[in-house]
Amino acid sequence: MILPKFTYKKVKSVAEAVAAYNSHKGKAKYLAGGTDLVPLMKLRLSAPAAVIDLKDIAELKAVSRKNDGWLAVGANVTLFALKNDPVVKEYFPALYESLDATSCETLQMRGTIGGNILQDTRCLLYNQSLEWRKARGFCYKMGGKVCNVVPNAKACFSNYCSDNAPSLITLSAQLRFVGPKGERTAGLEDIFSGDGRRPLTVEPGEILTEILIPLKKTKGAYEKLRVRDSIDYPLAGVAVSAKGGTVRACVCGIGLKPRVYDLSDMNEATVKEAADRMYGDAKPVSNTVLSAMYRKKMAGVLFKKAVKRVLQEG
């Protein structure tokens, strides 16, 4: 498949990247690993006038411990490099497992953690070629006035399919952005708008520079539903992290934003109650290769499986 025409620019610093974005009057896209952006451009779901390559910005590639108790992960650290970071394996097992479950090794070596978090939502009837989509008619997410999956729906039902955002949410990660309007920090769970046309509340031109994770040892696990053991996006995914007395779980892959569940404890009653809530809250529609009902049931099942592994019961 041939790419649409665009100009290409490699930048060496975040400030240079933002300046390049401004000079294109917003019609530019940032490129990191390209494993998400390039397919979207090939399908004409994204057609920027310019592509700004962030790969050469040295400060975005570092993983460092901060003195005030945070691990700062540069947004351009590849999923593979982060997975093999000893701190991640020791401190954040849920993140280790979700990194390991993301796509396949070759794509993990190219794809970045920042790109994985900021990926667009997906739908079986959206991630298709332009010809395919034209024949079907444009849906809400393509700028149309209907949903092609749910007749008479008033909104978009696409799925947010990052494996690593849910595990980072259970670790209470923060994101640092630099953009045309300056710097800001936001909690990862707060960047979701709930609107399929623009699922993330990232301002135009903003660059995700760092992911900050509180550096405290946790126990955790990530469970993912998929058809094949490799390459697939999650059809449902559940991350669980426990530290001290608190437990945090997060469900993703169903709907526009990850859903967070805070538990005071992991005993039979609290786990069952949370699993039931996950089942009730999950509102999948028929826009993946598995049926909506199956995915709904699996939300709670995956959670119970993850909890069992966290408690080392099997």
Partner: protein
């Protein structure tokens, strides 16, 4: 549209090229350099048939712009043989019957080569995990895994 000047080392040969900014590495390799070993199958990064090794890392060349890899050292399946002698992986793939239609083979071999270069003695589990990056619709993977195991033994 303005072209971009890039210098890439492909199979130990320096190439100075003027490429389109929206040209993928796969297009450059196949259409400019006539290296048709890397195949275009899905073109979306799902299948791995276009895998080549860039600076020691396996990459999907259909997802990489040639402009991105300016200055890189690239190895394709054509560059594996040395003085007419095939790479142990190529030998093992033939010996074990790991090739059927052959469309995935160059991608499989390049993915396996990058694995053997960073891990001399991979376990069967590690091989399966790495090879699961690539799709083969003929062999059922068993013979491919056997071939990589065999090449690892011979090479190590």
């Amino acid at each position: 549209m303005k072209t971009i000047g890039v210098t890439i080392q492909v199979n130990n040969e320096e190439n100075v090229l003027q490429v389109k900014p929206y040209e993928t590495l796969l297009e450059t390799l196949r259409e400019r350099l006539n290296l048709t070993g890397a195949k275009e199958a899905c073109s979306m990064g799902s299948c791995g048939a276009c895998t080549v090794v860039v600076n020691g890392t396996p990459v999907r060349s259909c997802l990489v712009l040639t402009a991105e890899v300016d200055g890189a050292d690239i190895t394709t399946v054509e560059g594996l043989q040395k003085d007419g002698k095939l790479h142990p992986l190529q030998e093992a793939f033939m010996e074990k019957g790991a090739v059927q239609c052959g469309f995935c083979t160059s991608g499989m071999i390049m993915t396996a080569k990058a694995l053997l270069d960073r891990n001399k003695k991979p376990t069967k589990k590690e091989i399966v995990k790495t090879i699961s990056s690539n799709i083969c619709r003929c062999t059922g993977y068993k013979k491919i895994v056997e071939a990589v195991e065999d090449a690892g033994r011979k090479k190590g």
